[in-house]
């Protein structure tokens, strides 16, 4: 059956998607929260809502940020001021948009890699699935 317009639209959002073979989906998504700048583009690009913007912020994201990353300066300032380890995530006021930890739900993730392509900070890695492993999993299930 040929793809509808909507089908092409979806296929364009999933890099390398070929319906039928199933080879493009199932990338392994690795998130590096210490590099994340909280812009939410992964959440906007996600076709299934596996990545969403949360209501809290994990302070360890700043404390772990490497010096050369986009939040390196703020991380360095926080490390200098730090007196104790943060006890948990903090609540974020409404108008603070970019300091929100992205909530990633692997159960809903297709592994399409759209988030990795959208990420401006290279905080998401999408590793292509091994073809052998994917097909053998299909056989056993």
């Amino acid at each position: 059956m040929p793809l509808t317009n909507r089908g092409h639209e979806v296929a364009d959002r999933l890099p390398g998607a070929t319906f039928g073979s199933g080879s493009a989906l199932g990338c392994e998504i690795v998130r590096h929260d210490e590099l994340c700048i909280g812009c939410g583009r992964c959440a906007a690009a996600c076709p299934t809502g596996a990545s969403t913007r949360g209501d809290t912020f994990d302070v360890n994201q700043l404390l772990d940020a490497p010096a050369e990353s986009r939040r390196g300066a703020l991380g360095a300032a926080m490390r200098r001021l730090q007196r104790r380890a943060p006890s948990g995530p903090i609540e974020v006021p409404t108008r603070v948009a970019t300091y929100r930890t992205i909530v990633y739900d692997s159960e809903r993730c297709l592994g399409c890699g759209a988030c990795a392509r959208a990420c401006p900070a290279d905080a998401i890695e999408a590793a292509a699935p091994e073809v052998g492993a994917a097909s053998s999993a299909k056989v056993t299930s």
């Binding site: 912020f57 302070v59 700043l62 404390l63 300066a73 703020l74 360095a76 300032a77 926080m78 490390r79 200098r80 001021l81 730090q82 007196r83 104790r84 380890a85 943060p86 006890s87 948990g88 903090i90 609540e91 974020v92 006021p93 409404t94 108008r95 603070v96 300091y99």
Partner: protein, 167 residues
């Protein structure tokens, strides 16, 4: 150290992009003074608080010698990075002075600033630093006494706290 003219040399930020650098510079100047004196960096909105500071200086109202002003185009430009970097580089406190709520010249800049200051306080609290070190004040351009009162209040708050330790 009683008149304002010598005490509050404004560290003017030429543009919004350099204001973080200006904050760092202001804080470094303060740290370099090497006194036991506390230091406060005040981020002032050009439309109101800075004008109020100007007027209070013209009236020769004494300000606490601890405060250094950083000119911002609007308090909406203040980010948590400005506040925390000022503290990390030598200031004992950072204050944001902006327009009265609802009277921002850029519509919503000071609302954003209120939330960012609140967020910076929570960040500080989570790593064990007193959140009172960062505070937001509002005033209009025609209220120099209110600006002076805000600076004095911040000065009192900071003096009540121990010096900020840094690693």
């Amino acid at each position: 150290m009683s008149t304002v003219a010598e005490d509050t040399r404004p560290v003017a930020a030429g543009s919004a992009a350099t204001s973080s650098a200006a904050a760092r510079e202001a804080a470094t100047l303060l740290a370099g003074a090497g006194t036991a004196e506390r230091s406060i960096v005040a981020f002032c909105c050009r439309e109101c608080a800075y004008a109020a500071a100007d007027a209070s200086a013209n009236a020769r109202t004494p300000l606490p010698p601890t405060v250094r002003l950083v000119l911002m185009p609007c308090t909406g430009r203040v980010s948590p990075l400005h506040l925390l970097e000022a503290l990390a580089n030598g200031a004992d406190g950072a204050m944001v002075a902006g327009c009265l709520l609802g009277q921002c010249h850029y519509r919503e800049g000071n609302y954003n600033a209120v939330d960012r200051v609140l967020f910076a306080q929570r960040l500080l609290e989570s790593v064990g630093v007193e959140p009172e070190r960062v505070r937001m004040f509002t005033m209009s351009a025609g209220e120099p006494p209110r600006f002076v009162a805000a600076v004095r209040e911040m000065d009192r708050t900071i003096r009540a706290l121990p010096p900020l330790g840094r690693s």
